[in-house]
Amino acid sequence: MSVLEIQDLRVDFPSRKSTFTAVDGVNLTLEAGKILGVVGESGAGKSTVGNAVIGLLQEPGFIASGEVRLHGQTINTLSEADKRKLRGRKIGMIFQDPLTSLDPLQTIESQLVETIVTHLPLSSREAQKRAVELLDSVGIPDPEARIKQYPHQFSGGMRQRVVIALALCAEPELVIADEPTTALDVSIQAQILELMKKLCTERNVAMLVITHDMGVIAEITDHVAVMYHGKLVEYGETAQVLGAPTHEYTKSLISAVPRPDIRVERFPSVNYIEASEKPTRNIDISTHWLGQSRDYAKISGPLLKVNDLQMKFETKGSIFASRREYFHAVKKVSFDIQEGETFGLVGESGSGKSTIARLITGLYTASGGSIMFGDTELTSLKNPRQVLAMRRQMQMIFQDPFSSLNARMRVRDIVAEPIKFHKLASSGSEVRQIVSDLLDHVGLGTAAGEKFPHEFSGGQRQRISIARALATRPRFLICDEPTSALDVSIQAQILNLLKDLQQELGLTMLFISHDLAVIRQMCTRVGVMRHGELCEVSQCEALFDAPQHEYTKDLLSLMPSMDLLSRADL
């Protein structure tokens, strides 16, 4: 008998005006020892499926119709108290962010023991022993000592192991993992995926993995269900679905996934995915204000030359210089960027790649080294007017589209602000015209200017950020993880837009990402960073085909394999 059967599941979220159906007519079955992946973009209802199974739907959501059966027993109609007895005992759950999933004020031991004692008839001494064994089995070294520690004393990957141990406390038959590796670095992700797979086979646990990441799906799942707008659009064996997708949506979703193994000039334009507006009106860049009077002095040599750049942050202050302690975020990094190229910086979190972007733009002051922009040494600029003139030439696009736009300003004012500040237009009407052209050009339409940022989706907001960055007619654009907060289909559109703009305007770009696949699609040359040092700089293709540095080789080998994915689009 199947461990989990979901039949015609429908989940409704009633609101004052109407009812929103988050999940509609979903059928799934899952056998012991198997992993079923549910994949989809944000708003597809995939997390709602997981929450419905474990009985923790967010208010006011409820199961409107259908059944959830665990070993043949219908569980969605049980009383609240009976459902609670199932949670943890029969069904375990793993959450996305290991940094926030554990109570910061309790030791790992007390959290494990309380869960074990709740579900199993053990004394607290026996529960402690079991807790240590569990930590050992999820691969935490020295479990006897570490169990006495608090969550903040563990790294992100270790905390996710603790979370897994907690989910496995009472030997559940089914584990639901909601984006289990999204918040982790690629090397940690590989370890956690391996652990999950191992536990699944060893303990004969059925696992429901909810994710937006095709790489995770390809790596560990046996079956996959693709969701779109609350409906199941495709369901079958993973190799089958990824290799030969039949539904239009699955096809377009797979084609939008950036691949580390092949470089494409452009992502295929997918019309199944919503919000893929074309520029409503094309402007001729060469005659337009945007392309005009790019009065930058011609330079010989690289546009940006970074030499022995250093940045240290004080971690322990003291009045005595000798007793201060520092964290070296960037250690003697040197690279240069030629005019018109896209230079990629790739690395795991904490490798110092964003710090470099902030040093170049002047948000941080370097502790040492030099940054040459053209013929100007940026680190020694004192005159505020010269600083402004430099800043006008370089603009930045940030990672989080939700916090990088002022929520109280209209979009047209957001885009107009840099033009007015740098006095780049002669009259108010000219500013308005430029803003409306810019909004058109990034695919939002002039009407968008009247709205406020909260009326837009993440991808549209990132377009606003791009329009704002272009508004000073920069020659150098820094993109700091511009698409990591976006769904893959939206990511594909934004990456296409950036590529187009670069070609039209001859922009030079510094592209920062943790995602090797995105780097491969975007960059001419790539620098790999680790612990504040630049391990390797090479041509993009060469880096992927023949990596030189050990760390680069590691990173590449840890990427989930995309071999399963269809290549119909190529």
Binding site: I54, L56, R84, K85, L86, R87, G88, R89, G92, M93, F95, Q96, D97, T100, S101, L102, D103, P104, L105, Q106, T107, E114, T115, T118, H119, Y150, H152, Q153, V163, L166, A167, C169, A170, T315
Partner: protein
């Protein structure tokens, strides 16, 4: 942690020095102390002699130093009004104020915390909304008005509780007197404690409610539920403990202000505490009492804040271990 404690102690000392300077200037510049002490018919020569004897002709720093060293030994001079040492006067009055303050703090916590937890967990229930409306009244009505209202209801109309004084008190040790051991003493405490604690109670309730709502939304609470832990453990062991840091901060500060600003309640209920004495001192320009009151209040605030800072270490392990 030791370094932290020492740093906090140093800061506390600086605060106390500044306050001492303030009370010292009070002595010097609010009227001439000699004029306050002597009669109208005292000769100028006698006045000069008194000035010399009191050391008022010494240079400022010398006088300030004398003031501080006396204050450290709890010697704040002699009250102009009562012609008695100020410290003796305070010693007689302090038990009344402290007893009242602690009773109202206990009332505020014992009622405010459970109400806050309930309102935080059952956001939509009618009782929570009732609590919130009541707390709005508690926050917006001035203390003296609540006092008078309570006196009118329970003393005048129902005649259950006394409207003024401490009732019968019992002497403990050489100088402490308590009303907690007699029936009339306890009865007398009820109305003033409620009056004084009502505002703090509503504040604590609203704070705990807001913090609970915040914490309930966090991932670790969701995860605790997903592990099937009973509500009791989720709510009290995980949720409540995580709301404590801000609550302890505010409660500590409030306890300080309860003690310092008991003045109004003491006046309404004719409570023989420090506040009432202070008010009389202000009317009579009895500067030594005012200065001592200032110092004492500042000291209580500083001491309570210091305890709160130390308490953080016991609540939050992230502070204990450091990085």
């Amino acid at each position: 942690m030791l370094g932290f404690t020492i740093r906090r102690l140093l800061q506390a000392m600086i605060v106390m020095l500044v306050v001492a300077l303030l009370s010292f200037t009070l002595f010097r510049f609010v009227g001439d102390p000699v004029n306050q002490m002597v009669g109208v018919d005292t000769s100028i020569a006698d006045r000069e002699a008194l000035r010399e004897r009191l050391g008022l002709n010494d240079p400022m720093p010398v006088q300030f130093w004398r003031f501080i060293s006396n204050a450290v030994q709890l010697d704040f001079g002699t009250s102009y009004q009562f012609k008695q040492p100020v410290s003796d006067l305070f010693a007689r009055r302090i038990p009344a104020t402290l007893e009242l303050s602690f009773m109202s703090a206990i009332f505020a916590l014992a009622v405010g915390v459970p109400m806050g937890i309930y309102a935080g967990l059952n956001r939509e229930s009618a009782i929570s909304k009732l609590f919130l409306s009541l707390s709005l009244i508690g926050i917006s009505l001035p203390t003296f008005f609540i006092g008078i209202l309570l006196i009118f209801l329970f003393s005048v109309t129902l005649q259950w509780l006394p409207s003024f004084g401490r009732g019968d008190v019992v002497q403990i040790g050489s100088w402490w007197t308590t009303g907690l051991l007699t029936v009339s003493g306890l009865k007398a405490l009820v109305l003033p404690s409620i009056t004084l604690g009502l505002y703090q109670m509503t504040l604590i309730m609203r704070l705990i409610r807001a913090e609970m709502l915040e914490v309930i939304r966090t991932d670790y609470i969701k995860f605790a539920r997903a592990r099937g832990l009973p509500d009791r453990i989720v709510h009290f062991r995980h949720a409540l403990k995580n709301t404590l840091v801000p609550v302890v901060t505010i409660t500590g500060l409030q306890l300080g202000s309860i003690i310092a600003f008991a003045t109004i309640t003491e006046t309404v209920f004719q409570w023989p505490g420090m506040g009432l004495m202070f008010l009389q001192a202000v009317q009579e320009v009895d500067i030594p009492i005012m200065a001592a009151y200032l110092m004492l209040t500042a000291f209580l605030f500083v001491a309570i804040n210091f305890c709160v800072d130390i308490l953080y270490f016991f609540i939050d392990p992230r502070l204990r271990v450091g990085r």
